[in-house]
Subunit: 443 residues, 2 copies
């Protein structure tokens, strides 16, 4: 069935080509297209099962933290008057705060350590804002029919899912090389008091690997917003997640917000999910002292305390912030060859004619390569890849409401796969891109 | 200052007594009262610092689970195709479900294991119900101005705090020896569709140590409720927490709800906080398969998964359900002498005259002794105890809105204190009770 379909498609393409270019061009394109279809057919016949959807650490990376689960002894439980095996300390243990404060650019009084999931913390924060309102404003968002959030796009699909869950209307904002388009943002927030926030992955952004420039951070912190309770959800998931030697630098949003007289605007989230264990790490949160005090009250209603033993495991495992940085070098040593491979294969395997319609970005860190294929081709590339056994994220998933307006973005997640699987995955992907995009070009 | 005040008070009491009883009675009561005041004064002078407020496990109890934090090896992480150090499995690992399903009386498909705090799970469940509604009804509770819950009282203060947080109007329901007054409950839920639920601690209830009778459970499961989305929050925190050999038995609410044609009514919560580590344990939740499927979707939005490594720690530590039961015997061996001491001292130290106005209950399990002093005396007893350095829960805290209508209930939490401290605490408490209640009797 598939072969018959492909053959028909091929003839159709050839007819189309014939009616446009020169005979030589037509013949060349036709043969090339046939070659790509043949390649693709081989992949379909030799169907693999490779999942490239999620930014999960690999087994090798997880092995780096196996000592996290080594014995704790009594001295690790009993600290001062506290027994960390017992209830309490809703904002996390002081040792963990001290260890991770530099990661968030926060002081000890501006940080909370709790739970295992920063996504969960973001969800909880929205729960608080919907039920009670933003600290110091305290008008519950649930009283408004249409709360809106700015969503720099492409962006992180799980931020968008949370927005959908809360019926938050998402306004996509174009991403640039320096972060989201600030001209657009400033105009929007100045005039609409229902725009209550923005979801940012400010460093090595998901999926593009872009780090917000100092100017972008300053403009976000200083801009006039019609909503008094405008909030910045600053998901600094990749704060230390460099891949190449050229490390991006991100301004300290907490400090910059203070400097511009909006000290309570930013809510910073991070976790050790991609530092130690994904799921069995610890999540952290920072904001102004005032916000932290209020949010601590909120947490005191919903729990008697976080898992402090797991916090202590992390403290004992790392001891110093410097050791965390050294640990992250080991991660990047594992990740770098994978990113190298992805970038190399995109460069080498994508046909020169197709390449004019395709673009990607070499990130200095993070977990993804963001690939823009020819407009109108992403969904088809993703579908063809699936037929050949390569699972990619659903078309449009990097955009609010799964709506990629140009149908071109594909997020590549190289971290979890072995180099062998990754090479195969990229082979399939490039083959699909060549076939689909050349088909489109020839139309 | 204090002594002067006490002396004045003594003279006032003596004058009051003189005007009522016989001369002999008066003299006796007067001398007795002076004795109690003297005793109390000694406690005030010798001010201690003993906190008897929370049902926390003691260091000895926590030590029982120290092996929980022993090394995990690679075989414990890698199970089948899963690496438990990585993202995913939002409803918890199968091994933990199998281990704890009997505790909740649930099948594998009726259980979720997540997080470290059952209180947090209850809070999350209310968040879901307020934002989206109860599964299968899906009318968000936030659309109604006055959601009401039934609160058997005395009860658990943190349930009440959560209700207050969500602006849920609490309707206190009297507790009896067989659970909450079911006549009252049936009448209420039949006529008011804003009554959306009930908070229960059905086994060794907090604070009274009462276990709901089979009849109570059947009536809760079968009663007609005007609200289609009426829910039972079944906080089975003390499912295995026996103290004496006479173990209470609790009906399986899930099964009984099914039998009565209300399969989706019950939401069961529990945790290992008082089995292994309080805060670093694991929380569990059970309901109908249909509810679980819906709630899993909700969880999938807010997190990429729970801490599965900590779940595996528990699986490896206990191995079998039978081992959990054996482990609980060790807990009860530590707790029993403490409960014995509390009951003995109440019996011996409270004056015979005062005793007529005071009552308590010997629980077969749980974490508390619930004490009812003479009407109108609890707040004063608690205040006097604080003056002498014994911190008890705030007056009224076992009732919604901190409103104990008879001002008589005091929750005693013996678990955390050493036997020595506990003896001192009970000495102070009984002294306060004798002084305050005799003072009141004599008025």
């Amino acid at each position: 069935m598939l072969e018959f379909f492909q053959l028909n498609y091929l003839f159709h393409q050839l007819r189309t080509v014939k009616s446009r270019g020169t005979i030589m061009d037509q013949r060349h394109t036709g043969l090339l297209y046939k070659k790509f279809v043949d390649e693709y057919e081989k992949h379909v016949k030799n169907k693999r099962n490779i999942d490239m959807t999620r930014g999960k650490p690999s087994v090798e990376q997880l092995n780096l933290s196996n000592d996290l689960s080594k014995d704790l002894d009594e001295n690790d439980y009993l600290v001062g008057f506290n027994d960390y095996r017992n209830y309490g300390i809703v904002d996390g243990i002081i040792e963990a705060k001290q260890l991770f404060a530099p990661l968030l650019g926060a002081s000890i009084n501006e940080i909370m350590i709790s739970g295992n999931s920063s996504l969960n913390q973001m969800f909880d924060m929205l729960t608080l804002f919907f039920l009670k309102g933003v600290p110091s404003v305290y008008v519950p968002w649930s009283q408004n029919a249409s709360i809106k959030f700015l969503c720099p796009s492409p962006g992180y699909d799980r931020h968008f899912s949370i927005c959908e869950y809360f019926d938050i209307k998402m306004i996509p904002v174009e991403m640039t090389e320096t972060g989201p388009n600030m001209d657009e943002i400033e105009k929007l927030v100045e005039s609409d008091d229902m725009i209550k926030g923005i979801f940012c992955v400010p460093k090595y952004s998901n999926p593009e690997g872009i780090t917000y420039s100092d100017e972008t951070v300053h403009r976000l912190a200083s801009m006039k917003t019609k909503a008094a309770d405008f909030t910045i959800f600053w998901d600094n998931a990749y704060a230390l997640h460099h891949i190449y030697d050229d490390h991006d630098q991100l301004e300290n949003i907490l400090q910059v917000c203070k400097d511009h007289g909006n000290p309570d605007r930013a809510y910073i989230f991070s976790s050790t999910s991609k530092i130690t264990f994904a799921g069995a790490g610890i999540a952290m949160f920072a904001s102004s002292e005032k916000n932290i005090a209020e949010i601590k009250k909120h947490h005191s209603i919903k729990t008697i305390g976080p898992d402090k033993i797991n916090q202590m495991r992390h403290v004992k495992f790392f001891k110093t912030y410097d050791n965390i940085l050294k640990h992250m070098e080991k991660h990047s040593n594992i990740l770098r060859p994978k990113f190298d491979l992805v970038l190399k294969m995109l460069n080498e395997k994508i046909d020169i004619k197709v390449k004019e319609t395709v673009s990607w970005r070499k990130p200095n860190g993070g977990y993804f390569v963001s690939l823009d294929v020819m407009d109108g081709c992403a969904a088809e590339v993703i579908e063809k890849a699936l037929n050949a056994g390569l699972v990619l994220n659903k078309a449009g998933s990097t955009f609010p409401y799964n709506n990629d307006p140009r149908d071109r973005n594909i997020r590549l997640a190289p971290s979890f796969l072995s180099l062998e699987d990754l090479a195969e995955a990229m082979d399939i992907l490039c083959s699909c891109i060549n076939m689909v995009c050349l088909g489109k070009i020839s139309k």
